[in-house]
């Protein structure tokens, strides 16, 4: 079966078109307006980027240089990185963050897509109640649920040992926002296509898995990336649930690291760099998709 409908892509292409500045406008007024726009954007850009540069520069300075008031390091060194890696459990925290983010992202991609599809393409009794029941959970701030979640985790021993991975991940393994996003995207999948597959004798799961889901791949990719980033940076719930150092996620480990090295800013900046650089690299690699995805979800939602 051949088809050229790639719904998410079409939308992203439209968005990409929108990101191209209107040609007529920029050509008509050159010089001062444009120059001023660049100047203001550059000043703003410097304000956005300087903290990151300062973080990295500080992390490669030997401690005595911190009071020298020089912007660039005189004797750059990676010694701080070795010290921090040797005295903390950073490599374990990386592993924990990756495990938790993978558990929740895999689950979110599978279930949000499946449920979004069902709510879009199927008619069944109780549909409205289920729809409202899922949508309604968006009104409840997760802060209100942490005490009940913690009670449940203690009750089922999810707060000790390896179960902590599940304990940290379980609140986010299915998301109402993701379901509604995917539900919107399945609008673009034509019902005729699904009916044709039914006549060919394909079962419903196969139709979803082999025909419908591949058509919304770009939307699924956006969902996966946001979920990964969100879980990677999650703080309050992992802070509450993880009760031993070996099970901290990166943000939690980083937060406790401060207490141990109060005024050693070169160490704190090294730790902050270690925690943020991997995700910044992921962001730089996928920046097109991420920024388009944000624009897409924002306009759809």
């Amino acid at each position: 079966m051949t088809t050229s409908v790639e719904i998410g892509t079409q939308d992203s292409l439209q968005i990409a078109e929108h990101f191209k500045p209107a040609q007529g406008r920029s050509r008509r007024r050159f010089t001062w307006t444009l120059l001023l726009a660049y100047l203001l954007l550059a000043i703003g850009g410097v304000c956005m980027v300087t903290p990151f540069i300062w973080m990295i520069l500080t992390s490669v300075k030997p401690a005595p240089e911190l009071v020298d008031f020089a912007f660039f390091p005189e004797n750059p060194t990676l010694q701080n990185y070795l010290n921090v890696l040797n005295t903390s459990s950073f490599e374990r925290w990386y592993l924990n963050s990756i495990i938790v983010a993978i558990i929740s992202t895999t689950s979110v991609v599978f279930f949000d897509t499946l449920v979004g599809y069902t709510l879009n393409k199927f008619e069944f009794p109780g549909k409205n109640i289920i729809f409202v029941g899922m949508l309604g959970t968006l009104m409840i701030p997760t802060e209100m649920l942490i005490i009940p979640w913690f009670t449940m985790s203690v009750n089922w021993s999810w707060h000790i040992g390896y179960a902590q991975y599940w304990g940290i991940a379980f609140p986010g393994v299915i998301t109402a926002a993701g379901i509604f996003l995917m539900r919107q995207f399945f609008d673009g999948v034509p019902n005729e296509l699904l009916d044709a597959a039914r006549i060919d004798g394909m079962n419903e799961f196969g139709i979803w898995w082999r025909i419908a889901a591949p058509l919304v791949k770009p939307a699924i990719a956006a969902l996966a990336i946001f979920n990964f980033i969100g879980n990677w940076n999650a703080y309050l719930w992992p802070l509450i649930l993880a009760n031993s150092r070996e099970f901290y996620t990166l943000p939690v480990g980083l937060s406790f690291f401060r207490g141990e090295s109060t005024t050693h800013w070169e160490k704190i900046m090294t730790a902050a760099s270690l925690a943020s650089i991997p995700l910044l690299i992921v962001f730089l690699v996928f920046q097109r998709q991420i920024i388009r995805g944000i624009a897409l979800t924002g306009l759809k939602g």
Binding site: M48, M144, L254, I294
Partner: protein, 301 residues
């Protein structure tokens, strides 16, 4: 017995949704009810129960709020101030940047990456970098002030400056998201609206007030509601930017969620913390309803 196609569809729909239904009932709705229940009890999280005390937790909050230098009063009034300072500055800055970005063609992608980078960075890492930037004597900002002959500022070390200083960081971190959404919105406005208005003799100022702003209304509402909710739930930045994570100096930066964390998970006063989360829920609900009422006007062209 042979099932009709529609009957089979119903069965498939429920199979597809089964895991999600269980999730929403057990992980979302049951904990929501439990959260209200906890707030009426002297809850012991490790026993998963506690004696019913009626409205006592709420009465205690009310009494605490009446005491001089009360944490609860500080938490609620600070939280409202974070919203009042943060949301408008975030929206105005983001709109200005998006309007500038819509004018330029070259380097547009570079600027978008620069403005968006803080949004994908962990709030804990962001907090530490800004702690270092805000440092008295050795911090980059105070060195810069020295350089241009201005007096050094205490920033997060002073009760008067701490809250605006943390708000500025929150704005810095969340700005990029609003910029991207605004930019996508601006570029969705058909250019013939502008052309027609220009033929009628409208100037740039009128184009902005009469076309751009009214057409961006739905996006402004969306970003206001989303931004307000995120400032009402502020936690990670405050916990990692105030001394010992207590919302100081002199409770000047503490938030509702920080008090929930401290009362619930440091002092183990779960019932009290639970009552605070219920109040936070109603505060979010109330503000969201008010915003949706007053800010959404349908714009038809």
């Amino acid at each position: 017995m042979r099932l009709t196609l529609h009957q089979r569809q119903i069965i498939w729909a429920y199979i597809f949704m089964s895991v999600a239904l269980v999730f929403f009932v057990i992980i979302r709705w049951y904990p929501t009810i439990l959260a209200f229940n906890v707030s009426f009890r002297d809850w012991n999280v490790f026993e998963g129960s506690g004696p019913w005390v009626g409205l006592e937790n709420y009465q205690e909050i009310w009494q605490d709020a009446g005491k001089p230098r009360s944490s609860v009063t500080a938490a609620f009034s600070n939280t409202v101030r974070y919203v009042l300072f943060g949301v408008p500055s975030q929206l105005v800055l983001a709109l200005a940047i998006a309007l500038l970005l819509a004018q330029i063609r070259r380097l547009s992608a570079v600027f978008r990456v620069a403005y968006f980078a803080p949004y994908v960075t962990s709030a804990v890492a962001v907090a530490f970098v800004w702690n270092w930037l805000y440092q008295p004597e050795t911090g980059l900002i105070n060195q810069g002030l020295d350089l241009v002959g201005l007096p050094q500022q205490p920033f997060t070390k002073s009760p008067a400056q701490a809250l605006p200083s943390i708000t500025a960081v929150a704005v810095w971190q969340n700005l990029g998201f609003a910029v991207i959404i605004f930019l996508a919105g601006i570029q969705q406005i058909p250019s013939h609206y502008y052309e027609a208005a220009r033929i009628d003799g409208a100037n740039a100022w009128q184009l902005f007030w009469r076309i751009t702003l009214p057409l961006l209304n739905p996006i402004i509402v969306y970003l206001t509601v989303l931004g307000t909710i995120s400032y009402l739930r502020l936690f990670a930045l405050v916990q990692n930017m105030s001394p010992q994570g207590t919302g100081g100096p002199l409770k000047s930066t503490t938030t509702v969620v920080l008090e929930v964390y401290r009362e619930g998970f440091s002092s183990y006063k779960m019932g009290y913390a639970g009552a605070l989360t219920v109040l936070l829920f109603f505060l979010i609900l109330l503000i969201t309803i008010i915003q949706l009422r007053f800010f959404s006007r349908r714009v038809e062209y």
